[in-house]
């Protein structure tokens, strides 16, 4: 679409202009790093940040979400009946600033998962009101990043606006018409000219050498590698190490599994049905009727996660189940990493280098 120039001095005005009309969220500094949070003062917004513990998925699928409320109604002498009222939680016009390209890839997968096949009304209601403003990654977040391997260093086509830092100004690419309107209605920008576009090309092409590759194979090879390595000894070793704490899946931008529970209120005559994040790394996840557990060992659960990330999601949804963001690696206390696991599997299977 169109390319605009937003001077850095004008960014706070842009945020301020949005605040009256939208919930504005973005990366802010915390005591120990960064987190996506509500922006109450434009100065809080940190467009140049490394990574966050949780990806912005929490705005798309909240950790705890009420789906509907219920109440036992009993009219005088009449029969008892259960009244149910749908609840659409956190549905409000929202602008998310500073979404890295890996996290946009995660959101793109979410959009497919929750809209195709069974359309999730709760997700879609919220999604339709969210504007995504991406930020081009010019440096890797840290040593745990492997976005270059996973091909997520380029913005996927889901952003409304996408910003690239060019020193004293941002290039702002418009991905959607509503994004363009949002920009033109709320910010002082100018159209990019021919030399601006050349300059953007320089900024974008010069960033690649700063990112390293960590996988010993190409990402296209991971499905076949995982198929071959299904019975590898590696899984047993990882299972022994795993703490079964689910930190890897909770912080993952593509993990979307949830549990559904009923929470009664104090009267026991009503309550709420809620969905909460769940994890395939937890014992109860695969516990079914008759106390049978079809993924009882931690080894089988670690393997399942890698299968999801490197094979199954790709097969089902056509998109990678891993964005290379490195969050699971940062969160893991026993150093189980996706590149480390895939490389070790590659070694155990004695395959030729794929790249």
């Amino acid at each position: 679409m169109s390319l605009y120039i937003l001077s850095k001095e004008r960014l706070p005005q842009f945020v301020k202009a949005l605040q009256g009309k939208f919930r504005v969220v973005g990366p802010v500094e915390t005591e120990t790093g960064y987190a996506f949070d509500d922006i109450t003062d434009p100065a809080q917004l940190q467009m140049d940040y490394t990574t966050t513990i949780l990806p912005p998925k929490k705005y798309f699928l909240p950790q705890r979400e009420v789906l509907f409320s219920y109440h036992n109604e009993k009219e005088n002498g009449g029969p008892q009946r259960l009244e149910m009222r749908p609840v659409y939680q956190d549905v409000q016009p929202t602008v998310i600033f500073g979404v890295h390209t890996c996290d946009m890839s995660g959101i793109m997968l979410y959009d497919k998962v929750f809209s195709e096949g069974f359309r999730d009304e709760h997700y879609m209601e919220r999604r339709e009101q969210i504007y995504i403003i991406g930020i081009e990654c010019l440096h890797p977040c840290d040593e745990a990043s492997f976005c270059k391997d996973m091909g997520t260093l380029t913005a996927p086509p889901i952003y409304d606006l996408h910003m690239t830092d060019a020193g004293d100004h941002y290039f702002v690419d418009t991905g959607t018409e509503k994004g363009e309107r949002l920009l033109l209605d709320n910010a002082y920008v100018k159209m990019a000219e021919k030399e601006d576009i050349q300059r953007l090309g320089q900024v974008l092409s010069s960033k690649w050498p700063r990112f390293r590759m960590r996988l010993k194979m190409s990402r296209d090879q991971t499905p076949s590698l995982l198929t071959l390595g299904y019975q590898a000894k590696l899984w047993q070793q990882l299972g022994e190490r795993c703490l079964a704490c689910a930190s890897c899946t909770n912080v993952c931008p593509t993990c979307f599994c949830f549990d559904v529970r009923d929470e009664n209120d104090i009267t026991m005559q009503g309550g709420e049905r809620v969905r909460v994040w769940d994890s395939c790394q937890l014992y109860e996840f695969a516990l079914v009727a008759g106390e049978h557990n079809f993924r009882e060992s931690k080894a089988s659960r670690v393997r399942h996660r890698l299968m999801r990330k490197g094979k199954y999601i790709k097969q089902v949804h056509g998109l990678s189940g891993c964005t290379g963001c490195g969050r699971c690696e940062r969160a893991c206390l026993v150093n189980i990493t996706i590149p480390g696991t895939l490389n070790a599997l590659h070694e155990e299977m004695q395959l030729e280098p794929g790249i």
């Binding site: 915390t30 703490l243 079964a244 704490c245 689910a246 104090i266 994040w277 026993v334």
Partner: protein, 277 residues
């Protein structure tokens, strides 16, 4: 509801903080009294009804004479619930089990202590009577208490979170204390407290007992990474869970001889009996 189930609270060796938590809960959730009738609760009322269906027991069993009282409660109650870490695990009370009981009696009550006060190694109440449900924690989490009461009244399956505290920390987006160099037992401790201690910057001490799949070997590696000695790590592992490690029925995950040198003098404490010459 025609007749409300009658419930009673009992205390054994404990600080009674779990019962205080229940009283505090009632300040905001008085509706609980529409669901149940409290017939005995020494902490909160003078009446002592002996006709109850659900008994909440706080505290560990630390005296021979506790056993008969526990059995009487068990005979009366259809459902017995262990309330808090002392009743559930033995809790910090079981730390005294490190030493010969006579030494502990003398230390706490003076040189005539063992004649004046009865005592024996602390145990969870499940070591004496059958327990139907557990509400873990030091103290309990009030909302978990409420939830368990509701499940009991509905006759539904009682379940506690079967996963480690890390889950709750991540959902709250807390920075991991272990990665910040602060020892935290969250990775091996059963969740359900909404990670209250790590949320306020204190490492988990394991008061809710171990998660079913607690990985002690790798938890030890993590704690060694903080520069803790094996003795320090054992002390952390056993603070609330000494009884569990004594009676796990499998190789204890502790590496040292479990606890402090028993021949060394007991540590000095502000609460110890004054020295008698």
């Amino acid at each position: 509801m025609a007749t409300k189930p009658k419930i009673a609270f009992f205390d054994f060796t404990s600080c009674e903080g779990c019962q205080l938590t229940v009283i505090d809960l009632l300040q905001t959730h008085l509706g609980l009294l529409d669901l149940v009738e409290i017939v005995q609760f020494r902490e909160a009322m003078s009446e002592r009804g002996e006709d109850y269906q659900i008994a909440f027991i706080e505290g560990s069993c630390t005296r021979k004479s506790d056993e008969a009282r526990l059995r009487r409660i068990r005979e009366q109650a259809a459902v017995v619930v262990a309330l808090g870490a002392c009743a559930h695990l033995g809790g910090v009370n079981a730390l005294k089990n490190y030493w010969p009981i006579e030494n502990v009696q003398t230390y706490v009550y003076g040189k005539n202590g063992k004649d004046a006060y009865e005592s024996y190694p602390a145990r969870p109440i499940s070591a004496v009577i059958k327990v139907d449900a557990v509400i873990p924690g030091c103290p309990i989490d009030r909302y978990e208490f409420l939830r368990i009461v509701q499940l009991l009244l509905q006759g539904r399956r009682l379940r506690l979170p079967d996963y480690p505290l890390c889950v709750e920390c991540k959902l709250k987006e807390n920075a991991c204390l272990n990665t910040l160099g602060k020892p935290c037992l969250g990775p091996i401790t059963r969740a359900g407290c909404d990670a209250i201690c790590p949320t306020y910057g204190d490492g988990c001490e394991g008061c809710r007992g171990w998660a079913p799949e607690a990985n002690f070997a790798y938890m030890r590696e993590i704690l060694r990474g903080h520069g803790l000695s094996d003795a320090d790590i054992d002390a952390r592992f056993t603070m609330f869970n000494h009884f569990q490690f004594q009676h796990m029925g499998e190789p204890a995950p502790v590496t040292t001889s479990l606890g402090p040198d028993k021949t060394a003098p007991l540590p000095t404490s502000a609460f110890a009996a004054p020295k008698e010459d």
